[in-house]
């Protein structure tokens, strides 16, 4: 139960295509975010400020993404940022635009299915896995900037010279050494802190492990050993990271 509950929703057993409800629940906010480009298309007769037309555009985008995921068997590796990357690809935009320009946009008829199948199977550089990953990372970074990033402290090493905090992330925000801008521990800004090491585990969890080093006086070290530790770090890309360790 714990593994089921703590696993990412994208790794659930239920396939995205089996239930639109579950897919919508997982990725609606991503797809809605991806439909923002439609507002810049001039000759399309669509009012995205109307809930019904917004739903129509959403249904077209969902149809393409679902078809693409199923055709490419991406159910196990699907995550919101991958969905966002697929939704923001050129075939997806073209397909949604074509569907919205059709006579009956949003209808699940043969013509619609044929259009989507052609788009899904058409080779396109933007739908290459590497391109999807790159755009997913960019999107993840963008969301991380907006929402922040949760991490967990896996180990704390206290020595006479300072403090080494090992933190783990489930999202790869492309941390690199010397990427740390500020570091706060229990609300105290520590000058001279560094992100000295980054380990990536692409296939497993955590995705990223980073090591933060800070100089702390000896009296504070004893306090840190016995009190809960809350670490707030900001990278040079303005990504806020929070991590906490109980006493």
């Amino acid at each position: 139960m714990a593994g089921e509950s703590t696993a990412s929703p994208e790794r659930a057993s239920a396939a995205p295509g089996e239930s639109h409800r579950l897919f919508d629940a997982r990725y609606r906010w991503v797809l809605l975010h991806a439909l923002k480009w439609l507002r810049s298309v001039p000759d399309i007769d669509l009012d995205l400020d109307e809930p019904a037309q917004l739903q129509t555009a959403y249904d077209c985008m969902r149809a393409f993404v679902l078809r693409y995921v199923l055709e490419h068997d991406l159910c196990d590796d699907l995550d919101p940022m991958s969905v966002a990357a697929i939704a923001e690809s050129a075939p997806a935009r073209a397909t949604v635009e074509s569907l919205l320009r059709s006579e009956h946009p949003g209808a699940e008829d043969a013509e619609t299915r044929k259009l989507i199948d052609d788009a899904v199977h058409a080779p396109d550089p933007s739908l290459e896995p590497a391109a999807i990953d790159r755009r997913a990372r960019d999107r993840r970074l963008e969301f991380a900037k907006s929402f922040g990033l949760h991490a967990r402290i896996t180990d704390v090493e206290v020595s006479g010279s300072g403090l080494r905090v090992h933190v783990a992330f489930d999202e790869d925000i492309a941390f690199t050494p010397d990427d740390l801008k500020t570091l706060e521990i229990n609300g105290v800004l520590l000058a001279g802190a560094q992100l000295v090491d980054v380990h990536r585990n692409e296939a497993g969890s955590p995705r990223v492990e980073a090591v933060l080093v800070a100089n702390v006086d000896r009296a504070s070290i004893e306090t840190l050993r016995s009190l809960p530790m809350r670490v707030t770090a900001t990278t040079k890309d303005d990504v806020h990271m929070q991590a906490m360790k109980m006493a």
Binding site: A25, R26, W29, V30, L32, E50, S146, F147
Partner: protein, 841 residues
């Protein structure tokens, strides 16, 4: 001496002047001449020696007025002037003029006879005959007065001239002055019949003191044989005898004393007295000749003075204290020490016929010697020793010492082993302290303090079972909670809320909160297993309610002027609310199903500030184009979210609170009183009311640091359960408990606690110890009996060697009989009964 000479000269001068005055006075009263012998003076009629001497001197002066009185001359001068014209010898003396005398019991009284003989002049006379002096008118002395007794010459009872009578002029002088009967003449003496009757002349005799060479001289006296008066001169004539006695006393040694007796005759006659002193002390007549006794009551480490009351025949014959001499024993006694040379006294008892012999204080031992009491021997053979129960006591002391040492060694070893176990547990706890909840850690530390408090002699065996409770409690729930918190995608408010709950649970530090801690951890673990689904759904429900309220307010705001003025904005606002509602429904669907994704939760956290912003826009009457981002679920630009530090962090991370003044600490123990080795709960209470009923203080910020005797015990809540290791010496130590927050003391407790209550186990152990001591006592009884037989009976027991021997006997008995015997018995039992070995193993 010069002064004596001056006095003598003065006396002589006064006498000369007195004689002149007397002559002048006699002339004045009608005396024919001063030298008239018929002229008498009543003054010299007295019979005293002094008067006689004076009279003699006066007479001599009357005869030889021009010549000085020989007695007035110094001895050297008198020796050459006043010698009589006849010889004086001592009858019965050997030719070498040695007079042997025996002094018995320190004195003697030896009679001697002086014989005056005419001087023998060989023919042809080479010397003229001595002038024939005219007969004295009064042969007995000048003036017709018989010579006084001190002169030694007197008329014998058979003579015609009784003493004191005045012989008529021209009468025949008696042949013997004192006694002429039966006294042989001296050899060479001229027969009295052919010799002309000699006129009495003064013969001076003197005797020196008796010397032995090393002691004080013993004075000797010449006394008249009949009257016993001292004599220094005699009136003798040729053919006369004089009877004297030489008297001496005070011969304190068995030795030969020597003295000289000088008789100033015509020829020199100095006799040597050889006084042989025998048995100088008068015997008491001891009625015992051997003193053999045993004194078995000498106090330990002390001496004893022994006494003997001895009957004697004549205790009063000599002055007390009596003379005692210590001699070696007649026969050597093996192992006996000689009697002390000093300190032995013999005194007359208060009861007649008894004397008391007292020896000086003696150490225990056997003494042999011989006492000579007034010359009588008394063989002494004494044995002094301590009482026999001292042997028991020393054996018991040795056994107790051995038992005590064994117990002490065992106790120290057990203490060391216990402390090692405690220290090992302490190290284990220190290693794992970071992962322990406050209550779990303080429970362990209390167990360690309790174990250290039980390291006393009677409670030491309790340490091992107590330490079994010192195992760090494994709380897998906490691991689940931590992992779920770290790995589950949770909205930051939900994560902070759960962390705050867990932090509060982790700070609980009192026995009263233990059940709440267990329940809270179990609840959190259960929620963790569900991915904190309940907390997420609850939060989403609240967010949904917040959304509905915002939706109502926005719709109400749009229904008015705003819709007419900005219909596009109003439409976008409604669409934004519609999309937000869909997203909340999606989140609830996920929360009830597989769960949220991390970025999704970040988006959900931004919804509430976005709603606030939308309400603000509607309230302001202007809907900006930025509302489009809400339609496309882009809430990142609305207010703080996960990207900024949360304000709803755990209590431990918030700002320190200002504690009110006057907070107190209430202490509650297991019973009505506070004892060491028991759990005592300290709680911060408000300042109002009696401390026993005061309300508990709930600090808004944790942790509260509890310091006991200036040592940090735990960071916990407002309550802390603590076990004192000890109460200090006799419970007099005042303990200080302080509750601090942010380095400031907010409440304190300062008082004493009582010593640990004695448990039944302690009583049982005391009885066990008593039983073991009794077993040792039995061994001591047996060993003591043997020791008494070997060490005490018929032996002079006492002294350090004996004491150490007795103590070592007890020590060895304890080691061999009790310790060794116990082990031997145990090994035998294990050998004989196989089951016991298995049980022991």
């Amino acid at each position: 001496m010069q002064r004596a000479r001056m006095m003598r000269t003065a006396r002589r001068t006064s006498r000369t002047w007195l004689s002149a005055i007397v002559v002048l006075a006699a002339a004045a009263v009608g005396c024919a001449e001063p030298g008239d012998p018929h002229c008498t003076d009543d003054t010299f009629a007295a019979g005293s020696p002094a008067s006689a001497h004076a009279k003699g001197a006066n007479g001599a002066a009357s005869v030889r007025a021009a010549a000085p009185d020989p007695s007035d001359l110094p001895p050297s001068a008198a020796n050459g002037v006043a010698a009589p014209s006849f010889n004086v010898t001592i009858a019965g003396v050997l030719d070498d003029r040695v007079l042997p005398i025996e002094a018995v019991h320190g004195s003697f009284d030896e009679p001697i006879v002086l014989v005056a003989t005419a001087r023998y002049v060989p023919y042809p006379f080479t010397e003229p005959f001595p002038p024939i002096e005219p007969p004295l008118d009064n042969p007995l002395g000048p003036g017709g007065v018989p010579p006084p007794s001190p002169t030694g010459s007197f008329a014998p009872p058979g003579s015609s001239a009784p003493p004191g009578s005045v012989a008529p002029p021209g009468s025949v002088a008696p042949a013997v002055a004192s006694s002429a009967v039966g006294l042989p003449l001296a050899p060479g003496a001229v027969p009295s019949a052919s010799a002309p009757p000699a006129a009495p002349q003064r013969v001076t005799v003197s005797i020196s003191q008796a010397y032995s060479g090393t002691e004080e001289p013993v004075p000797l006296r010449l006394v008249d044989a009949f009257t016993g008066r001292d004599v220094d001169g005699l009136m003798m004539g040729v053919g006369r005898h004089a009877y004297l006695r030489i008297v001496g006393s005070g011969f304190a040694r068995e030795a030969t004393y020597r003295a000289s007796l000088t008789v100033l005759g015509a020829e020199p006659a100095v006799y040597r007295l050889r006084i042989q002193s025998k048995q100088p002390y008068p015997p008491l007549g001891l009625r015992a000749s051997r003193w053999s006794d045993t004194f078995a009551d000498v106090p330990i480490f002390e001496r004893r003075q022994v006494r003997l009351v001895l009957p004697v025949d004549s205790a009063v014959s000599a002055p007390s204290p009596y003379h005692v001499a210590v001699r070696p024993p007649a026969e050597a006694v093996e192992g006996a020490r000689p009697l002390p040379a000093c300190g032995v006294t013999v005194e007359r008892s208060s009861q007649p016929g008894l004397i008391v012999v007292t020896l000086p204080p003696l150490d225990p031992g056997r003494y042999a010697g011989r006492l000579e009491i007034q010359g009588e021997s008394l063989d002494v053979d004494l044995t002094l020793k301590n009482s026999f129960w001292w042997v028991w006591l020393l054996v018991a002391a040795g056994a107790s010492l051995s038992l005590g040492l064994r117990e002490y060694v065992r106790y120290r070893a057990a203490r060391e082993a216990a402390e090692r176990e405690i220290a090992a547990k302490e190290r284990e706890i220190n290693k794992r302290s970071d992962g322990l909840l406050a209550w779990d850690e303080i429970v362990l530390r209390n167990v360690l303090r309790l174990a250290r408090g039980r390291k006393s002699y009677l409670a030491l065996d309790d340490v091992a079972p107590i330490l079994e409770d010192a195992a760090p409690r494994e709380r897998p729930e906490r691991v689940e909670i931590d992992r779920a918190l770290n790995e589950t995608a949770l909205p930051s408010p939900v994560r902070d809320q759960i962390r705050a709950r867990l932090a509060r649970l982790s700070y609980l530090s009192a026995r009263e909160d233990a059940r709440a801690l267990d329940r809270g951890v179990a609840d959190l673990a259960r929620e963790a297993r569900n991915g904190f689904q309940g907390a997420v759904i609850s939060w989403l429900r609240k967010l949904q309610q917040r959304f509905l309220l915002a939706k109502d307010r926005v719709n109400a705001g749009l229904a008015g002027e705003l819709e007419g003025r900005d219909p596009e904005g109003a439409k976008r606002a409604r669409t934004a609310l519609h999309v937000t509602g869909l997203l909340l429904d999606d989140a609830l669907t996920l929360a009830l199903g597989p769960g949220l994704s991390p970025l999704h939760t970040g988006m959900l956290v931004k919804i509430e500030p976005a709603l606030d912003q939308l309400e603000a826009w509607v309230k302001a009457g202007a809907i900006p184009d930025r509302v489009v981002s809400m339609i496309h679920a882009s809430f990142g630009s609305f207010g703080p979210g996960d990207g900024a530090p949360s304000s709803s962090a755990s209590p431990a991370l918030s700002e320190p609170f200002d504690a009110p003044e006057g907070l107190r600490v209430r202490a509650r123990g297991v019973g009505s009183r506070l004892h060491a080795n028991e759990e005592i709960t300290f709680e911060i209470v408000a300042a109002e009311g009696p401390v026993e009923r005061a309300a508990s203080f709930d600090p808004p910020d944790l942790p509260i640091e509890w310091w006991v005797d200036e040592r940090l015990v735990v960071r916990g809540t407002a309550r802390m359960t603590y076990v004192f290791e000890s109460a200090g010496w006799l419970g007099w130590r005042r303990r200080r408990v302080e509750a601090r927050h942010a380095g400031r003391v907010i409440a304190r407790w300062h008082s004493r606690i009582r010593r640990p209550e004695l448990s039944i186990v302690v009583y049982e152990r005391a009885f066990s110890l008593g039983a073991r001591s009794a077993a040792t006592l039995v061994g001591v009884i047996v060993t003591g009996a043997t020791a008494v037989a070997f060490l005490w009976a018929n032996k002079p027991y006492g002294g350090w060697s004996d004491y150490i021997s007795a103590a070592l006997t007890g020590l060895g008995a304890d080691l061999t009989l009790v310790a060794g015997g116990g082990r031997l018995l145990q090994s035998i039992l294990q050998t004989v009964v196989p089951g016991r070995r298995e049980d022991a193993s």
